[in-house]
Symmetry: none
Subunit: 244 residues, 2 copies
């Protein structure tokens, strides 16, 4: 996946605020190549305001007179489309499937993702220039996403795809986990402390201990957390000693 | 996955247009329960304008005075957070992992997804109320997503999850989870018991309590487990009383 080879094309956008929102959404996801086909107002202060820190994306935006011009050097063109356009017959992808599919293609070739007009989408002629259609699954009773919101979802999936191919760690870095042996000692200590404070009887600790084991096993204690809890057991035992 | 049991909570939103954008993004993805904690302007014509066909979501929005109030009946609270807050230490999920994790939980319990203020996010105290953190992976050099755009991505993954879960549900059935309010009382009780047994000083319990909160939030206490732990706190306090 080469995000640099992917351009986002907006068709005849009528609200300049949406152009700014799209620029911000793109840059958030490391996509910076914006093409504008006949924008109604551009440049425009509303676009700048919504772009916030992505003004540079607006400044480098390429303004074109037609979709054909915007995608002429592209090997793959993906058109976003509302669900009902399915009948056009192109292959319809959801955003994740689209990201997966263009991951390889973008390595060596230019790829365009095209977003239609706010109210009327893409014309049949424009859809005819597209190799695939991209549809964002949604509530069928209320399926019109805001342009910048739709573009945000698509760019998010592209960015997620770059992380998938990196074979990298999606696990969260946390403190070092306690070992099995440390957990054994922990449970022994806990049981003795609970006997000492007379919460459980030495004779029959089974059920309570089983529930507590389940809880702390599930939590996967870090060494540091285990140390705090054992500190608490020590404090309980010191107090119990004093009471004797 | 029961989308009806999932609420979206916006903290002290300063731009009413964002509230409208969020309402639209929610309804696009079949989520309709919006909670607003101290919105700066609401209701507001800018919110209505950006909501387009989701005015009904705004009309039914619940306005609260605090995050605590907004999530008091929730068993699971997820806080959205920028990447750098990782050091707080809660379990950090990306939007897809979050959707997978709350798919089952939302079947039987109330779940809240909390979005922080446009500029300052969530406070540490508010993050302390959260069981998980949700972070949207993005360009680290430009990581501030627009509020409605971030919410769109999260709602999109929730909606996608409804399409996935139709077949599978292999996770372990567990007991009923403690609510946010029960967890509040639990932490108050814990803190007092730890002061009583002289494990922490009443003056400065911060760091230890933060670590313990993190542990028990991660574990997602069941009501039964919470009852056992409070029983232990009672035993500790009885012993401390006796020692005086």
């Amino acid at each position: 996946m080469k995000l640099d080879n992917i351009r986002l094309v907006l068709m005849e956008t009528s609200h300049p605020g949406n152009i700014g929102g799209c620029a911000r959404a793109m840059k958030n996801m490391s996509l910076e190549r914006l093409y504008l086909v006949n924008p109604l107002y551009f440049p425009d202060p509303d676009a700048d305001a919504r772009a916030v820190g992505a003004i540079d994306v607006l400044e480098r935006a390429v303004v074109c007179a037609s979709l054909q011009e915007a995608v002429q050097d592209c090997a793959v063109v993906v058109g976003t489309s509302a669900r009902h356009n399915r009948r056009i017959g192109n292959l319809v992808l959801d955003p994740k499937a689209c990201a997966e599919r263009i991951a390889l293609e973008s390595e060596a070739a230019q790829v365009a993702l095209v977003f239609g007009r706010e109210h009327s989408g893409l014309s049949n002629e424009e859809l005819g220039l597209c190799n695939y259609l991209l549809t964002i699954p949604c509530n069928e009773a209320f399926s019109s996403l805001n342009l910048a919101a739709a573009l945000q979802v698509v760019c998010y999936e592209l960015f997620m795809q770059t992380r998938r191919t990196d074979t990298d760690s999606q696990a969260t870095p946390q403190g070092e986990l306690a070992t099995g042996h440390e957990m054994d000692l922990f449970y022994q200590h806990m049981e003795q402390a609970l006997v000492d404070v007379e919460f459980i009887k030495a004779k029959n600790p089974r059920k309570t201990m089983r529930r507590l084991r389940r809880l702390y096993n599930r939590a996967q204690l870090e060494k540091m957390e285990l140390a705090i809890l054992r500190g608490i057991f020590n404090a309980m035992q010191k107090l119990a000693d004093r009471g004797r």
